[in-house]
Structure formats: C-alpha cells, structure tokens
C-alpha cells in the first residue's frame, strides 16, 4: 500500500499537475481534488499547490480560502492530517488562519523567479523529516506576493517554538540564489503549525525533483519522500 496524497485544484491553480508529478516521482499516489468538492477522497495528506487561484485578485489566497474543499481541509488539518501549502497554497493557509501571519507583495514590487537558497530550520515536521536541520538547499522561487509578515509577538513565538521551517540564506552571492528575495521578516521562507502537520512555504519544491527540467536540481524531492515515509510507517 502506498500513500494517497491529494492535490487541490482551485480555479487558477498552476502547479497542480507538477505537484502530482513530484508526488508520483517520490513513489506516492497523487489524487486530484477539486475545489468545489468537500470530499477529500480519503487521501492521507493534502497539498495546496502554487498558482494564481482566482487570479490572486483581492489578495493572494483570499477567495480560495472560502471554497468548499477548504472547509474539509481546515477541519482535517486541525485533527492532524498533513497539509503542505506551496506558494499560493501557503497564502491560502495564512488566509485560512491555519498558519499565522500574512503574505504581502514583494518589497521590490516585481514578480521574481529564481533558484533560491534556503536553510532547513526544522527537520521535524511531517514534510521535512528527510532533511537535516541546518541543511542548505536550492528550491525555485516564483511569486509576486512572497513577503512574509507577522507582528513581533508572533514572530518571537514562531522562533521560540521552532516553527520557522525554512529561512532564506542571506549570506553569499546573489548569483547563487542567496539573499532575502522579497523582504520577508526575519528571512522566513516557510513555517509550520504547532503540531508540525501543516507546513507552508513560498519556494516550489515540486520544481526541483528532476535533473533535466526546472532548476536542474533534486533538492525538493525530500518533501515528498518525507511525507511518504511518514504515512507508510504510520
């Protein structure tokens, strides 16, 4: 038996097929979920993929957050089901208050697409167990609204509880993908909830799973093997 991992398609989702491919390459079974269905088709985990759901109109993730599928995702996430939000998915998770803080427009006001260097800060979540804490990886980043913002109190809490999952590596050469790409507070690239089952990040691990395409690296694969191991061993 392998794990079934759902990938939600919202209107305007873009990286949903790519995420399904990454799940397949990791050895799990991708299951397409539709935003209008509350039914999660008995999946073991859910990924909210990247894209511009509802065109990112109003605010990124703000409209999708109210879709029928999210009612179930919110409910299930609260009772422990692993949920990963990538880029637009991360934005949906903050809008749904499954993760604290909010995403704002990049401080340079442009879309940015590059192979970004990250440090794994928390290798204990459902989605990061195959990394080592402190490991530095390159994962493609591509977004308009990637600036993570929260109040000081929340930021301190995230740090104290080890809930900053990924940070942008800021020392080193820009040509090597270093530097805070969007003005995110405390260089935060991704965070987790208290239980470690819900993780959101801006960069796109599903575009770093094959040497031939995308960034040409495979640094993103451990996201999908982490969750697979967890689910199969569960």
């Amino acid at each position: 038996m392998t794990a079934r991992i759902g990938v939600v398609t919202f209107p305007g989702s873009l990286d949903d097929r790519d995420t399904q491919r990454a799940i397949r390459l990791a050895g799990a079974e991708p299951v397409a979920l539709w935003h209008k269905d509350k039914d999660l088709k008995q999946v073991d985990a859910v990924v909210l993929p990247g894209g511009f759901s509802y065109g990112d109109y109003l605010r990124a993730g703000a409209i999708s957050r109210f879709s029928p599928v999210m009612e179930t995702v919110i409910e299930q996430a609260k009772s422990g089901m692993p949920v990963l939000g990538i880029c637009n998915g991360f934005q949906v998770l903050t809008e749904a208050h499954l993760l604290p803080g909010a995403m704002l427009g990049n401080n340079h006001l442009h879309f940015i697409c590059r192979d970004q260097k990250l440090r794994v800060e928390n290798a204990g979540t459902a989605w990061t167990a195959d990394y080592a804490a402190g490991q530095e990886i390159h994962i493609p980043l591509k977004n308009m609204d990637g600036r993570y913002v929260a109040d000081e109190h929340t930021l301190d809490m995230l740090e104290a509880e080890g809930r900053v999952a990924f940070r942008y590596v800021v020392r080193g050469e820009a040509a090597d993908g270093c530097g805070n790409p969007n003005g995110s507070l405390r260089d935060i690239a991704g965070i987790t909830n208290e239980a470690g089952n819900v993780v959101g990040l801006m960069p796109h691990p599903e575009h770093a799973v094959e040497p031939l395409v995308g960034s040409g690296r495979t640094d993103g694969l451990p996201f999908f093997t982490s969750i697979l191991k967890k689910l199969v061993n569960a």
Binding site: P11, G12, L14, D15, R17, D18, R21, K36, G50, G51, F52, Y54, G55, D56, Y57, H108, H110, F111, I112, C113, R114, P140, K142, M144, A175, H204, E206, H207, E210, L212, V213, G214, S215
Partner: protein, 757 residues
C-alpha cells in the same frame, strides 16, 4: 436626430439614399462602393461595421497580401507541415504522434498607450490563437524593442510592458522561455511588443476554424462583451444612428488572465471529450471576424441572434457588439446533442457560455437583433474578399549613401588596453548587457517541462516525459542590419534564429514571423517590406523551413520617421531526447574551445559600431545559408553524440560577447589565443554569420575535428576553459588583456537594473 427603429436589411433596401459614415470607419470610397456592389444595395449599419473592421489593414492585410504570397509560393516541400498559413496558427509534426503549433503577434501600439495592459492583452491574444488550434499552450516568448535605454519614456514603457507580459503569462501558468530586448532610438514612439506562444497536441486533436454541419450550434463563451476597442463603431452608433448614446468607449482593453486560464482549461476539456466541431478565438474584429471566418471556412451558412450575447454594458448597439474586441472570449461550433455537455464543462470552470446561433444549410451569414435581420451577407466577401493593394515601392534615395558609409573604416582599438576598454563597454551596453532583471520577472519553471530558458540560445520544452521528445524555439531580428539591407537583414534574422535552435541541439523545422515596419503608404517603407519578405521567403526555401504563419504590423512610425525595418523571425525545432541538449554555460575546466565557421572583417550594423562609434552604415554581414545549414548539422550531431558540452552561437557583439556569456553563466574563465590570419580586433568583434563557439571535452577532440573536417566546416581551436569564478578566474586574450569574471559580471549585470530599477 431621431433614429429609425432599426437598420435592418429590409430597411437598407428600402432606403438606398441614406449616407453611412464609411469614411469615419476607415473605408475608402471605392471600398465602400465595392461593398454596395457585393450586396446589391447599401449595407446596413451592422454590415458596414463588419466590412470596415474586416477590411482594415490589420485584419485584411490589404497592403501586405501581394508580398506575403511568396511564403506560400516559395514554400519548401516539408513533410512536417500539417497546417500551413491561413489558419489561426500553423501546425508542425514533431514526431511520435505529436504536433506543435506556434505563432508570433504584435501588440505594439496598445503597449505604447498603456504598457501594462497593452502587453498583457498581447499575450492573451496569441495564447487564444494557440488554443483555437486544439493545442495546450506550453510556453511563451516575447521579442521586445524599446527606445533609447536612457530615455525617460523608456522608464515608463519598459517596466510596464515587462510587468504586463509577466502578469498575464505568469498567471496563465505559461513558462516564458525566450525573447529579445533591444534598445534603439528609432523605437522611441513605437516600441515593438511582439509575443509568441507554442502549443502541443496529438495529431488527431488538430482543430480548425470552420463551421460545418447544418443545425450545429454556435456557442460564445468566456468574458462578457463590453465596449472595448470599437472606436469606429461608436461613430457609427452615435453620429448616424443615435446621438443620445454614451460615446465613452474604452480605447484600451484590460486583460483578465484568470478568465483566460479558465478558458484554456475548459476548452481543453471540451476538446478531450471531442465536443467541438470548429473553433475560433475572438481577437481583432471580435464577433465580426469569428462569425464570418467560421462561416466562410465551413460548408454552410450561419444564423446568429445578437440579443443572446452576454453583455457587460447594456447600452451597446448591435454594431458595437459585432466590433467589440473584449478579451478572453472564444466561439465554438458544437453538435446539438453535445451542447449540454459543453455547457456543463463551461459551468464547471465558471465560464459563461451561451448559444448565440447555428450553422444553416445556405451560404449566408445572417445576424438578427430585436427580431430584425441586420446582416445578410456572403461571409466570404467579409472574411476573404477584402481589398488588395499593390502599393508603390521604391528603393529609397538614401540607401546608397547609407551603405557607402562603411563601418569597416571606423577607427579601431590599437592596443590591448583599448581592446579591453571596448570589451567592457560592449558587454555593459544596454543591448548586450544581461537581461535578467527583466527575465527574472517571468516564471520559467511552471508546467515542469522547461529544459532550457533564457539566457540560453533557445528555449526548450520537454513534451513527452517517457521519451524525452522536446521542442525548441528562438526569436531573432536585427533592425540595424535590415536598415542597411532589408533583404539580407531578414535572411540574417532567420539565420540567427535557425542557428540558435541548432546550437541547443534541436533540428530547425519551421518558421513564424512578425514583420514590424513603418507606413505602407511610404514607398521607401514598402520597398523595405517587399525586400524583407523576398529575402525571408528565399531563405526559408533554401533552408527547407516553411513559414507557417505570422503577423504584419505596419504604421510603426512617428510623423514621417519610420522605425528600422524589423522582421522578427521565430524558428521552431525538435529534439528527440532533451537529455542531449547543449547549454550555453561552460561546464568544465580544461575543455577546449573551438570556433566554427569563418571570420571576416564585418562591422556594418555591428554592436561594436553602435556602442563605440554610435554609427550605422555599410553592409551587414554576408549571408551564407548553406554554411548555416552545415553548421546546424554539425551542432546537432555533436550534441546527439556527446561531443560538445556547451555551445553558443555568435551574433551581435561577436565572439567576445559569446565567450563572456558562456563564462559568466558557467562561472568558469577562458583563455583565448588569436588564431593565425586574424587580428585581435576582428577576432573579438566581427559579426560574421554562420559561426558558433563550442567547448569540447579533451576525449572528444579527435572525433569532433574529424567530423568537421569530413563535412567541410572550418574549425579553429581558440583556447580553453580555465579557472573558476570563486578562485578569481579571468577571460584572457593572450598577449592583449585579461578581465576578471567579477569585473565582467558587474559590467554585464549592473546596467539594466541601474537604468530601470
């Protein structure tokens, strides 16, 4: 002025003396008389609206048609061509049952008025052309031209255009895999915003724009229709017919990429279920174009009830509805029993869809409004029988003087120090500098199949995961060359794009073009246009790459001053296994650098003459298509057989520009030796065509040399890849100068952000 209730066909027949504002709608007197002759009566307002937009330069190609014919007449025999010129986009067989469609279009003028929206809707339009062929769009490219880099208006236009292309393309989920950015004062008031798209489908999924099968339904779906882009029609509506109407009609369209993304998904789902008989996107001339083209390409006629068109603005007149260019709309012809399913799919994607008519067994296009028949025409006369002009053309009087002003006579650098200084000026000049500030605003990862993207020589997309089948595309065009000699300039544009595709290891298959010129009413411009087409058609014939479609943009001029003639050429190629692609970046220290091809003293129109002397004169580099073909064959074989690890074609900026780019991308230095028989300056800066630099692993040296020798391609060893950036590597020309990668990187990468950020 009171309005007659409705200008029906009946009414028009009964009131032959009513004067219609044909001149305001852009028709010439004889064109209007031709309409009257075709109809055997005066047209109704709605008919006049249709004829006037469909017979415009933009839709009818009336000035360019007589020349464009050469692309068909001289078309090389090619088994790869599945659908040729005349459809929304050409279709090329790339093997394994896959077909690829691609096309480039211009959105120049709107992008000057409103850079963001103009560029965004340009992407939207070209993508709908691709969907209309039955294909899933897989990538976009954007050849761009702007005024001088340091002109204040460039700072308004460029960032808006780039944000618009990115805003729309990124939101659609289409990777941007290539394009161009060129600055020249001649584009100051006429930036060129060309956008291209590629789509992939199975052979059996090719769809055409035709309405056949009596009783089949015509479905309009997508955005509601508003008063966009109907300048002419509002004259018709307000002056002749109803003065009380609001005259405010937007001159600029606003794009809704989210709506278009839904349109793509629901169209592809309908294709997959075989629900669609014929399909047409709505672009220029909106419903006028879609209905008349669908009807005239099919076997029957068509009846349309305009009242059923969903409107965004309820005050629109029927003439305006027919002419509206509202974005994000498509028109499908569907068998009656499949209509419900089609509507269901639209509903699933929250796309508004409405049956607005049906295919009839006659051969007339009839359109109704409020119960009256307002259009009754033979659709062919609207769509295909537009006027054709043989515009006068003449070689301009200044051409000789321009060509006599020989760039080879310009003062050249005399010392190593001067050479070094000019290399730095070259690689940091706006046209040769890194465009990553621009291209990093485009998503090139989405869809997970991007093998190569900018700044590679061509973009490459994997289309089959199992076999690694892929396609490559490059777009090129050098307006400076074309100004010096439009015939050769067009051939050089093709040569360069062809070479760029081959450099990555793909075999060039077919061509699309976007021909950007000044006013066709100027005989000098018309000569440039005629020469460019003749050059391109001749060269396509010789290289065996048919032109599958394209776009003409005329009237790109400010007052009497036209832009440089700018034929932009896109070449599509195929590669059996993308794992064999060749990148630009140097891969490994110690690999040997070879220059393929011949280097002559050719500086006319060169980047060096522009950057160092602000000069444009002389002749462009000599065209040698047989050499291009041989070079391409060698590059493709070498890539397939693993003989080269990196390759970069030589074009503007010459050899030094190419070597610096490969070095910076790979983070590796290079040591170069000026070959016997060449001086350092010519070696570094000449822009002779038909050349590339390749890096060969030492183990392959013999095999590679033998192959070139056997096939008769000149090959010269010019140096070696040496040193890594982290250890202070340099690009050195022995006995002349050395520049550190750090210094080169700063020079190459700082220019554009400094101008625009």
């Amino acid at each position: 002025m009171s309005r007659t209730p409705l200008d029906t066909v009946e009414n028009a027949a009964a009131t032959p003396d009513v004067e219609l504002p044909w001149a305001e709608l852009g028709l010439k007197k004889d064109e209007y008389e031709r309409v009257v002759e075709i109809l055997g009566r005066r047209p109704t307002g709605a008919e006049l609206a249709m004829y006037s937009v469909m017979w415009s330069e933009h839709c009818s190609y009336k000035s360019s048609k007589v020349h464009l014919r050469q692309f068909g007449e001289k078309a090389p025999q090619s088994d790869a061509l599945l659908v040729g010129i005349g459809e929304n986009a050409g279709v090329v067989d790339v093997g394994q049952g896959y077909a690829v469609t691609f096309k480039v279009e211009s959105h120049n003028h709107p992008s000057y008025v409103e850079p963001y929206q103009g560029a965004a809707t340009g992407v939207g339009g070209i993508v709908r052309d691709i969907i209309a062929m039955g294909a899933r769009p897989v990538a976009v490219v954007d050849p761009l031209r702007f005024g001088a880099a340091d002109h204040p208006d460039t700072k308004r236009v460029l960032p808006g255009v780039v944000a618009g292309i990115g805003g729309y393309g990124n939101c659609l989920g289409l990777p941007n895999i290539g394009g161009e950015v060129v600055f020249d004062a001649c584009y100051q008031g006429n930036p060129l915003v060309n956008a291209g798209a590629i789509g992939v489908m199975r052979h059996e999924d090719i769809h055409l724009a035709k309405a056949s099968g009596t009783g089949n339904k015509v479905i309009l779906y997508g955005a509601r229709t508003g008063g966009d882009g109907i300048g002419g029609a509002s004259i018709l509506a307000s002056e002749t017919f109803d003065d009380a109407k609001p005259s405010k009609r937007p001159a600029v369209q606003v794009g809704d990429p989210f709506q278009e993304k839904l349109l793509i998904e629901c169209t592809l789902e309908a294709f997959a279920e075989k629900l669609v008989v014929g399909i047409q996107d709505l672009g220029a001339a909106g419903l006028s174009c879609a209905t008349s083209e669908l009807a005239s390409n099919g076997s029957g006629g068509m009846r349309v009830t305009l009242d059923d068109v969903p409107l965004r603005d309820s005050t629109l007149s029927p003439e305006e509805i027919l002419m509206s260019e509202s974005q994000e709309r498509m028109c499908a012809v569907v068998e009656p029993e499949k209509v419900d399913r089609f509507l269901e799919i639209c509903d699933k994607w929250d796309v508004i869809a409405t049956v607005i008519g049906e295919v009839t067994d006659g051969d007339r296009l009839e359109i109704f409004w409020h119960g009256g028949k307002i259009v009754d025409v033979d659709p062919r006369t609207v769509a295909h029988d537009g006027p054709v002009y043989e515009r006068p053309y003449a070689r301009p009087s200044w051409q000789d003087a321009l060509q006599a002003d020989d760039a080879n006579k310009l003062p050249r650098p005399a010392t190593g120090e001067e050479l070094k200084d000019q290399v730095l000026r070259l690689v940091s000049s706006p046209n040769q500098a890194s465009k990553s500030w621009i291209t990093s605003q485009y998503d090139h990862f989405v869809q997970g199949n991007t093998v190569l993207a900018q700044p590679e020589d061509s973009g490459m997309i994997r289309i089959d995961e199992e076999t690694g089948l892929g396609v490559a595309i490059a777009t090129d065009g050098n307006g400076r060359y074309a100004k010096l000699d439009p015939y050769a300039g067009a051939q050089l544009a093709l040569s360069e794009a062809y070479r760029n595709v081959a450099t990555t290891g793909a075999k060039p298959l077919a061509v699309s073009d976007c021909l950007n010129f000044g006013s066709p009413e100027d005989p000098a411009v018309m000569w440039q246009f005629a020469e460019a087409i003749r050059g391109l058609a001749d060269a396509c014939q010789q290289l065996g790459t048919p032109v599958t479609g394209g776009n003409v943009s005329l009237y790109n001029q400010t007052g009497d001053v036209a832009i440089h003639p700018t034929p932009v050429v896109a070449v599509l190629g195929v590669i059996d296994d993308v794992a064999r692609r060749t990148p630009v970046a140097f891969q490994e220290e110690g690999q040997l650098l070879y220059l393929l091809g011949d280097t002559h003293e050719e500086f006319g129109g060169s980047a060096w003459s522009q950057v160092v002397h602000d000069h444009l004169g002389g002749l462009p580099p000599k065209v040698d298509l047989e050499r291009e073909r041989l070079l391409a064959e060698i590059l493709i074989s070498a890539s397939r057989d693993g003989m080269i690890d990196s390759a970069h074609d030589l074009s503007d900026g010459g050899l030094i520009q190419a070597v610096v780019e490969s070095a910076l991308q790979g983070g590796k230095g290079a040591r170069l030796i000026v070959p016997d028989g060449l001086d350092a300056f010519t070696f570094l800066f000449s822009e002779s065509a038909g050349r590339a630099v390749v890096a060969v692993p030492r183990s392959e040296e013999l095999r590679f040399n033998d192959m070139c020798g056997a096939r008769g391609l000149p090959v010269t060893r010019i140096g070696v890849v040496d040193g890594t950036e982290s250890e202070a590597a340099v690009v050195e020309v022995q006995g002349e100068f050395a520049l550190s990668l750090t210094e080169l990187r700063t020079a190459h990468e700082a220019t554009i952000p400094a101008l625009l950020a």
